[in-house]
């Protein structure tokens, strides 16, 4: 089971194979969770969407088409669920503005200001800069950086062109650096 490709596992899930689902879950558990924590900026929110995403993967298994990589499908589901949540709960302003509470779960684990090392100060600035990126740009940056998704795949996830993704990736990187240096 562990040697099977993502597509093979997902096709088995589609046929109702619970063990295949568990194998895929173990394979993507940490990656999806890390993405959601960085993407939402809030560990508790990330955990909720993590659960919802995997349950949606299982419930929508009949819709899976092996033409696209499983990872693309998984991250598309995660992003769409979060976007729906933002629209429905009118939390867009709070989260995209990178309010202090949005990063509270991460900040709590850090030492206090007096003990902060230079490295942790960098991380704090980077987190804040990341949280201030527009949602789509943040998704592009994180999926490109951590998931190694190509611009063509990101275009599929965001429903835009590869050229537009390239422009947004450049814009996101510039904005991140500005925030990082601020």
């Amino acid at each position: 089971m562990s040697q099977a490709s993502d597509q093979e596992l997902m096709l088995a899930v589609k046929a109702g194979d619970r063990a295949a689902f568990e194998a895929l879950y173990r394979r993507y558990r940490d990656r999806l969770h890390a993405f959601l924590v960085r993407y939402t900026g809030d560990p508790a929110t990330a955990q909720d969407f993590f659960q919802e995403t995997f349950l949606r993967v299982f419930r929508d298994r009949a819709r899976y088409e092996p033409r696209a990589p499983f990872a693309t499908w998984l991250f598309t589901i995660a992003r769409n669920l979060y976007l729906d949540h933002l629209k429905g709960a009118r939390r867009r302003t709070e989260v995209l503005a990178g309010s202090p509470t949005a990063l509270a779960g991460i900040s709590d684990t850090r030492p206090g200001p007096l003990q902060e090392t230079e490295a942790s100060e960098w991380r704090r600035r980077l987190e804040a800069a990341l949280a201030e990126l527009p949602e789509g740009d943040r998704a592009i940056l994180l999926l490109s950086r951590f998931e190694g998704l190509r611009y063509a795949e990101l275009a599929g996830i965001l429903g835009t062109s590869e050229g537009a993704v390239k422009v947004r990736a450049h814009r996101a990187l510039q904005a991140l650096r500005r925030g990082f240096l601020a």
């Binding site: 568990e22 955990q47 950086r145 190694g148 190509r150 650096r177």
Partner: protein, 224 residues
Amino acid sequence: MDCNDAQSQIAAYLSGDLAAEDLRAVEGHVASCEPCRLELAAFRRMWAALADLPVASLDPTVDHQILAQVAAEVGEARKVSSAAVRWRGVGLAALVAVALSIGNSLLLPYEVAFQWCSRTLRAYAPFVDLPDSSFFFVVGIFYGLVPLVVVGLLSGRLLETRPLVHGTAASVAFAVLILPYVIIVCSALPGLFTLSLMGGIVLGALSGGLGGFWAGAHRWLPAH
């Protein structure tokens, strides 16, 4: 390639999204341009620093919750699936019962059965004055009861659960399916006779279906 072109390609360069030709052009420019080399180095550090961002670990109970939920949904799907199989079994039982009943009527036509029935029963005092339609009703019971008892005993044993519901459903389906055949075969008979025959078939089918499925589900039939 000038500095603006090179710097606009940095994101694609870092993520490995540059085509070979563009990659060579960027690297060629950076090799000969000190400001762009420093700029790229700064972006590289930031790109690398992203990996150092702390990520709170996932609550381990989430694993159990998700996998348990999926297991529950798989179990639910199987239940639905087995219910669908059961209803297909009931449908098949009704079809087999129709075939048996038609087979009966071909071997022993309704009118022949009626003549034998009326002659035999009218030998006894209580039945002498009964109208002919009564005997068609009795004949109908036979043509409905026998096939439903046979398929009910077998199907009830296989399906095991809800024998009264399955037996009723099979009997109703049987009656509906055989009705056109009875009407065609009895087209030359008076309407009252056909009606009596059909009434007997329905009563026989219901009795046979309920009894057969119930007895089958309670294992009155030896396992084979």
